[in-house]
Amino acid sequence: MKRTLMGVAAAGLMAFGLSATAAEMKAIDKASTTSAVRSGFSYAISETREMQTDDIQNPSFLWVDIGEEQWGTVDGEAGKSCESCHGNAADTMANVGSTYPVWDPATKKPMNVELRINKCRAENMKAKPWKYESDELLGMTAYIKSVGRGKPIHVSLKDGDMEAWSKKGEQFYYQRRGLLDLSCAHCHEQNPGNLIRAETLSQGQTNGFPTYRLKWQKLGSLHRRFRGCNNNIRAEPYAYGSDEYLALETYLAQRGANLPVEGPSVRK
């Protein structure tokens, strides 16, 4: 896409996006309060929700813009951009956010959006992979999720060993850990809606990631959130992109099945 064209398209998207977003968010709210499975969105206070539903106010869009810019930028020895292979992201990437992680036969692991982006960079672009939590990787992840907003999450466990990885994630979820000896379930299964000091616990669903957290003053990945929850209970966290967190991410996609993709969301 040419510069000027992109500007026009972006302005058009924005004008359209605003009303579409409000409608989408109404749908998210409905989906997330009428079923047993609820998005973190439905536990947030109205100021935070409003910030998320307005693309102009939503600070995550600084990163979405970075992602969109990178989409058309040639990088690496193959002389390609994402766009060279995938064309218009709004068409070709619309189902990615709601269906990942998927099985990667090459690594024999579940592959999340971040890993997929870096696989394309390494193999198809011959470019250097982006680091977890870099503006580029957060931006591209946010951009790809944003074009699939509102789609219900449905991750298939049919391929490869996805089933077994999801089981591992489930074990992780129920395992007590850290000096405070708590499992994810103690907070997010037994206490959603309850205050833990100044924070209202949610179900700890993953449909909003990457998330702009007011506390971080930055967009952050799901694995950053996992590390935060581990740190809070004085447990040793795992590395970004680790097998443990990939298993957890796979399992949590099942727990949150049918929640709409919200990324990039805003949370306290």
Binding site: R177, G178, L179, L180, L182, N194, L195, R197, N231
Partner: protein, 156 residues
């Protein structure tokens, strides 16, 4: 209530004895759990004023994370994960409160409440917290002393 000192040398193991279960771990004050369950004998002498501070302190008890304590109206946010602690001092004995703080899993294996004076049986404790209990024996007794002052009817 004293358990014969024959068992004293064993480290990190809970030993059943007629009078109760003696618990001793390296570096920790040993204590005895009797049926109820309860730890009737204090680990050391406690101070309720220091206990109140430890209950509030996020690096220490941080009990307010999970409990609302009406006697502490000056702290803005009180948690809702555990029951309101307003009259435990009139409902529970010192031994029962001590048990609840030292190792509440003896009372309820499923509880969300952390064991504030326990080192064993934990998984993946962060490196900087390894070998440390959440509260010291002194702090446990301070919190017990403070809990005993909670007898209900607070205006806030």
């Amino acid at each position: 209530m004293k358990v014969r000192s024959i068992f004293g040398a064993a480290l990190g193991i809970a030993l059943m004895a007629a009078a109760g279960t003696q618990v001793q771990a390296a570096g920790l004050v040993k204590y005895t759990v009797v049926e109820h369950p309860s730890i009737p004998e204090s680990l050391t002498k406690g101070d309720p004023v220091r206990g109140r501070a430890a209950v509030i302190n996020r690096q220490k008890g941080n009990c307010l994370a999970c409990h609302s304590i009406p006697e502490i109206p000056e702290e803005q946010f009180h948690g809702e994960v555990g029951p309101v602690l307003d009259d435990v001092g009139s409902r529970m004995s010192a031994g029962e409160i001590r048990m609840r703080i030292v190792d509440p899993k003896v009372i309820n294996p499923e509880t969300a409440m952390p064991s504030f004076y326990k080192l064993e049986g934990l998984h993946r404790v962060a490196k900087k917290w390894q070998g440390k209990t959440i509260l010291s024996a002194q702090e446990v007794e301070d919190v017990v002393a403070y809990m005993l002052t909670l007898k209900g009817s607070y205006s806030n």
